[in-house]
Symmetry: C2
Subunit: 362 residues, 2 copies
């Protein structure tokens, strides 16, 4: 699990990205206005739930929409508001995944705010309602995530693109949703089974992150624009490579990141027992004594600063950190090389998005 | 909350219902086969999750598909497999709602089997994985419900009906999903706030049950077939009335039903503290001493057989049970009267479906 909110370093933001971001923000706002009207009609009591959703949805960095939009442009699609709407539907999907993921992980914060289940629980606590605030918070967040899942699809179908064009994107759109749920389940299973091989960890990354963060948004944009199979293959190679590098960077930040920029306490991923590629490489390379130390610390919710430091040291010393950095480099290079066949201006933007996704600090 | 599995008494099943049911079953099987192939590709570890979903999806009594199908036929739509696929998408929506509802309520069983979260937890327990089996079960069920929500939409969009026809049904389809989530939230809120007025309880019923069980499936079928607004108004009147009567019957069965036919322990709704119309009417009509007794018993998980009997007695004595039965009668009569304007054969089937939905015993 933990799905990290995507924080892309502003300095690395590619050409036109600010413009696209504000258009996605606008599309999000329009959708929020429409849905708030529906919720209002049902009853005033829904407004705190709507506010929690709105706050979360306003916070995204719009990485998936960017890949979708440039996948469309790279396949010759003309700029239009309809493709921005489709791209925005991916933000709703991401919000659903984050809300449910935070429930599953019991995470406290998201995008610098309390997680949705914590917000709903706080409501219960504040007004001294009957029953358990935690259970109420979880139930509210399950429903909030369900709303986002439904709205994702509503936004896709109602984007304004012709229905026959939308049908072309359906295979990618449908598979993306199913595969992410599967990837999330596999990720849970890895932690529960405490199985850690590099191969398995990379397999999980592919499904829980790489495909739906980069490859599938890009392929969706391409399919909608009627891309040839050669370009779709290029997108797939680029997308899987950048997607994996994105997640590997996330995993490194989860252990070595600065809490000031990641927004998460240092070493939180270790306490949660995440079975990352970094952890798998560490266990492959370190001494038996160190391996015992890593296994003991991993998933220990009481692991303190010293314990985190000790595990970091093992990861550095055995060369696992360097190996992950090398893998990020290799995957970035693969992605950049694949771009040779993509036309401008998409090529330049997709080139810059590699750095944005893989060299970020938070 | 508790969403009851819909058990329709076979003797009351309308004309052609068995045929339609087997066609929906077939459509469910085809979908399961397609999705199992996707999950297999991701990994073998997904198969227990797929099995849990398949078992749940095979168990439905196909009430919502029946309303959708006959809404289509009543509006002049010709029989075809495509509308059966759309109708089947509602079973996936219902499955998602049930899976998530069982997590929210902490229910143990569904459709005579362990709830999905219990099945997934049992897997964890059997294989002695790390961490909490309960938390793993909840996480697995959240993902399982998410899969059903995505598949619902996939089935709708991929039903085979022309894309422009599907667009006509979108307004109903989208609103149905949003409104059910809202209704579920309101229902939780009623229990948490222990607010119980007849008016509020009826408002919750409308959104958590009546609309998505009867009115919206019917309106969806009608809208897809291009029904005139007059027929849609008829459907709406009929749907809200039958839908409310359906839920009122459910509430009565939740307190007075025979566990052998309802599949739930006697008085479970009382222990769960459900704020039903029956409860609201009881509190409105009974003496202050009885009201104190009802409030004390409601939501008490340790309420025994004697306690359940005592609350039942209050409900009978003060006339609340009779009042609910009268409301069911009135709503059924409203629905039957509305059918005058519907053409055959839909009229006869919809007529019979009133009894199927409101006079069932389990």
């Amino acid at each position: 699990m933990p799905l990290r909110s995507d924080v892309v370093t502003p300095a690395l933001h590619p050409l036109d990205a600010e413009d696209l971001r504000s258009r996605v923000d606008k599309s999000v706002e329009d959708m929020l206005t429409r849905q708030a009207a529906v919720l209002d009609e049902v009853g005033d009591d829904l407004s705190p739930l709507m506010e929690a959703l709105a706050d979360l949805l306003r916070g995204g960095k719009r990485l998936r929409p960017a890949f979708c939009y440039w996948g469309w442009r790279g396949a010759g699609g003309a700029d239009c508001s309809e493709i921005v709407n489709v791209a925005t539907s991916l933000e709703l999907f991401q919000a659903a995944a984050l809300i449910h993921d935070d429930v599953m992980d019991g995470s406290d914060t998201r995008r610098g705010q309390p997680a949705v289940h914590r917000r709903v629980a706080a409501l219960h606590r504040r007004d001294h309602w009957l029953g358990s605030p935690e259970a109420f918070g979880v139930a509210g967040a399950i429903l909030a995530g369900d709303l986002c899942l439904s709205w994702c699809d509503e936004m896709y179908a109602g984007s304004g693109l012709p229905a026959e064009d939308l049908l072309r994107g359906r295979a990618v759109f449908d598979r993306m949703r199913t595969e992410l749920m599967c990837g999330q389940y596999l990720d849970m299973l890895e932690s529960a089974q405490s199985s850690t091989t590099v191969e398995r960890a990379r397999h999980v990354i592919l499904y829980k992150s790489a495909k739906y963060t980069v490859a599938q948004p890009l392929l969706l944009g391409g399919a909608l624009a009627g891309a040839e199979s050669e370009l779709l293959s290029t997108y797939d190679i680029y997308g899987r490579a950048v997607g994996e590098a994105f997640q590997l960077r996330d995993d490194v930040l989860g252990v070595f990141g600065d809490p000031a920029t990641t927004g998460k306490p240092a070493g939180d991923d270790l306490r949660e027992g995440k079975r990352t590629v970094l952890v798998a490489l560490t266990l492959e390379r370190c001494s038996p004594a160190q391996a015992a130390q890593v296994r003991a610390g991993l998933g220990d919710p009481r692991l303190g600063a010293d314990g985190v430091d000790a595990l970091r040291e093992v990861m550095v010393e055995c060369g696992a950190l360097a190996a992950v950095e090398e893998l990020i480099e290799t995957q970035s290079a693969t992605a950049l090389a694949a771009l040779a066949g993509v036309d401008e201006p998409a090529r330049t933007v997709l080139d810059q998005l590699v750095a944005a996704a893989t060299t970020r600090t938070g």
